[in-house]
Amino acid sequence: MIQAHDSVIVRTLGRIVIPVAQLFGIYVLVFGQHGPGGGFVGGVILAASMILAILIFGRDAPDSWLVPKVLHGDGLGLLIFVGVGGLCLIGGGQFLNYSHLEIPGLDDASRHYVGILMTQFGVAADVAVTGVSIAVSLSADDEDEEATHG
């Protein structure tokens, strides 16, 4: 189990760095439309910021409030991804064929834009959750140790 860090310098720097890292993660995610970046990289940066929060403040601290909530959301990202793909199916096209993404008032190019952005949000959410859950499960005491051997 990870203990909270007691150094003032680390905690203060953490408070500054973590929001910046999260903002940067979202920037990379959205910027993926125009240059290097995208869902996977953005998700990794978001995960890194949350792992940093766990390392500095501990998993159960009020400052890391996002972490336990995030851990329940595994699969949510994939559902967003599949949901966008499913909307294309309902629109009459193939899975993930953004031309058939039925959103009223959008031309073909914007449909592609919105569709890709939304799937990237899904990818980012899933990558971030997976990253955090790997970090948490590596650090956690084996809770079912007794259950397995008892």
Binding site: H72, D74, G75, L76, L78, L79, V82, G85, G86, L89, G93, Q94, F95, L96, N97, Y98, S99, H100, D144, A147, T148
Partner: protein, 487 residues
């Protein structure tokens, strides 16, 4: 709607698997009905898909609207449609069976059912994939969930799950290496595209090396002798509810993937440095069929007997698909469908015997016939089909393989089928001699067996005969598809 059936077949289990932790977080008891429901929907979709494909011809499904060489395409042809139906039906059968047989002290049902659904989704992906790399991805999803499912019971199974993981990952690496060779030599991963570029390149070292690596990787996955080491231990120690699911799907689906590659890339009669490729494959199959049967004959553990029996049958199917004519190919594929049902049934029986009687070895079996008539009946039916007597499906599969072998005048293949039949008869006689043995102290009261177990055994037994009766139409569909140039 009809043209979207392949992706729906994949999405139904996949979305349910992903949504499972969210839907069932509060109510764990929803897991099982949800899983069974999703797989039942798959069976219905697979039947609809088969009807569409048989009446309207193959569908090429372009994911994201990007067509074949550029995008990732799925091919929904009669072979894929039949296999999708087989895989989903067998999964449903084992899920019905798993109701009683799952024994877990603490509740991990969410993880367990999520893994099962992901596994089934991956099977559908392998069946439809028309792209070498896509096959790899889905093979790995199926394998990774498979490792976890084998180890789900904990204890000794974990050792075998780890061994399966090591060997399975090695196989996947070899496959990927082969794919990269083929990609380097041809510049494409799409199977149709590869097939058009293959004839002039088949003698190139890179292509031959690539094909060899692909075959070796898939042979580990399909447990072809001598690369079968992971299988008996993994299946003998996997949880009772999991062994039938894995035994009836994993090796078969790897073989289906190989059949696609073999059929589209290796032309009949082609020779590489004076070695006829298909004849070589056929000889490997002959060896696997005979050695697998012989190894089954010397086992004492029931699950290991069945596991080696299944390994032998993989060899037999490889013989059928490598004979180079459509009769044998259709026969081999039909036998593959039968083998999926037979393996599911064998491991269901082994699991039930372990669950109700605590029997794992042949000696423990004495006197079971009196106490469990349902299991006995199921065993007799599956034995008839394994040995290959009409009117069960097993007979017609072997019959078509033999016809194809005679047509190709490969008498070694005929010998393999006959030897495999005799060996199968041998280990079933051994099994029966213990099964019907009357112990001195007769406990004649019958055991009450759960309804779901009776149901799953009953459906499987009916399926054995139904496959035999419908063999003609199934083989005809496959032959027509072969005549039109597809698999």
């Amino acid at each position: 709607m009809n043209s979207q059936l392949p992706i729906l077949l994949f999405l139904v289990p996949f979305v349910t698997a992903v949504a499972m932790p969210i839907l069932c977080a509060r109510r764990r008891s929803w897991c099982r009905p949800l899983t069974t429901g999703a797989v039942s929907v798959m069976v219905v979709l697979a039947i609809m898909n088969l009807r569409v494909v048989v009446s309207d011809g193959p569908i090429e499904y372009a994911l994201g609207g990007w067509t074949a060489p550029i995008g990732i395409a799925w091919l929904d042809d009669p072979l894929a449609a039949i296999m999708a139906l087989t895989m989903s039906a067998v999964s449903l059968l084992t899920l019905i069976y798993g109701r009683v047989a799952v024994t877990s002290k603490h509740d991990r049902s969410i993880q367990y059912h999520t893994l099962i659904l992901l596994f089934v989704a991956a099977l559908i992906g392998i069946v439809f994939a028309a792209d070498l790399f896509n096959v790899f991805v889905f093979l790995e999803v199926a394998a990774l969930t498979g490792y976890a499912l084998v180890g789900a019971g904990g204890g000794k199974a974990l050792v075998y799950a780890f061994r399966y993981l090591l060997l399975g990952s090695f196989g996947a690496t070899l496959y990927l290496l082969g794919v990269s060779y083929l990609y380097a030599a041809t510049g494409t991963l799409n199977m149709t595209d590869l097939a058009t570029r293959m004839p002039e390149l088949i003698t190139s070292t890179a292509v031959v090396g690539g094909l060899i690596f692909v075959f070796l990787g898939l042979s580990i996955k399909m447990a072809l002798i001598p690369l079968h080491g992971w299988l008996p231990g993994a299946y003998a120690n996997a949880p009772n509810a999991i062994a039938p699911l894995l035994a009836s799907t994993v090796t078969k689906v790897a073989l289906v993937a190989w059949v696609r590659i073999e059929y589209s890339l290796i032309e009949p009669g082609i020779e590489v440095s004076h070695i006829p490729v298909l004849v070589l494959l056929e000889d490997i199959g002959v060896l696997a069929a005979v050695i697998g049967g012989a190894l089954a004959l010397v086992q004492t553990d029931i699950k290991r007997i069945f596991a080696y029996g299944g390994i032998g049958h993989i060899g037999l199917i490889l013989v059928g698909v490598s004979l180079g004519n459509s009769t044998a190919l259709a026969g081999g594929l039909f036998y593959l469908i039968n083998d999926a049902v037979m393996q599911a049934m064998l491991f269901m029986i082994a699991g039930a015997v372990l669950h109700y009687h605590g029997a794992t070895t042949l000696d423990d079996l004495k006197g079971i016939s009196v106490r469990s008539p349902w299991i006995t009946g199921a065993l007799v039916v599956v034995a008839v089909s394994m040995v290959g007597l009409p009117p069960t499906g097993g007979f017609f599969g072997k019959w078509n393989i033999v016809l194809g072998a005679l047509e190709a005048q490969h008498y070694l293949a005929v010998f393999a089928v006959l030897a495999s039949t005799l060996l199968t008869l041998g280990y079933f006689l051994r099994l029966f001699s213990c099964w019907f043995h009357q112990p001195v102290t007769i406990q004649s009261e019958r055991l009450e067996i759960a309804v779901s177990l009776r149901l799953s055994l009953g459906i499987a037994a009916v399926a054995m005969f139904a496959l035999g009766i419908m063999s003609d139409s199934i083989v005809r569909v496959l032959l027509e598809s072969l005549a039109n140039g597809g698999v």
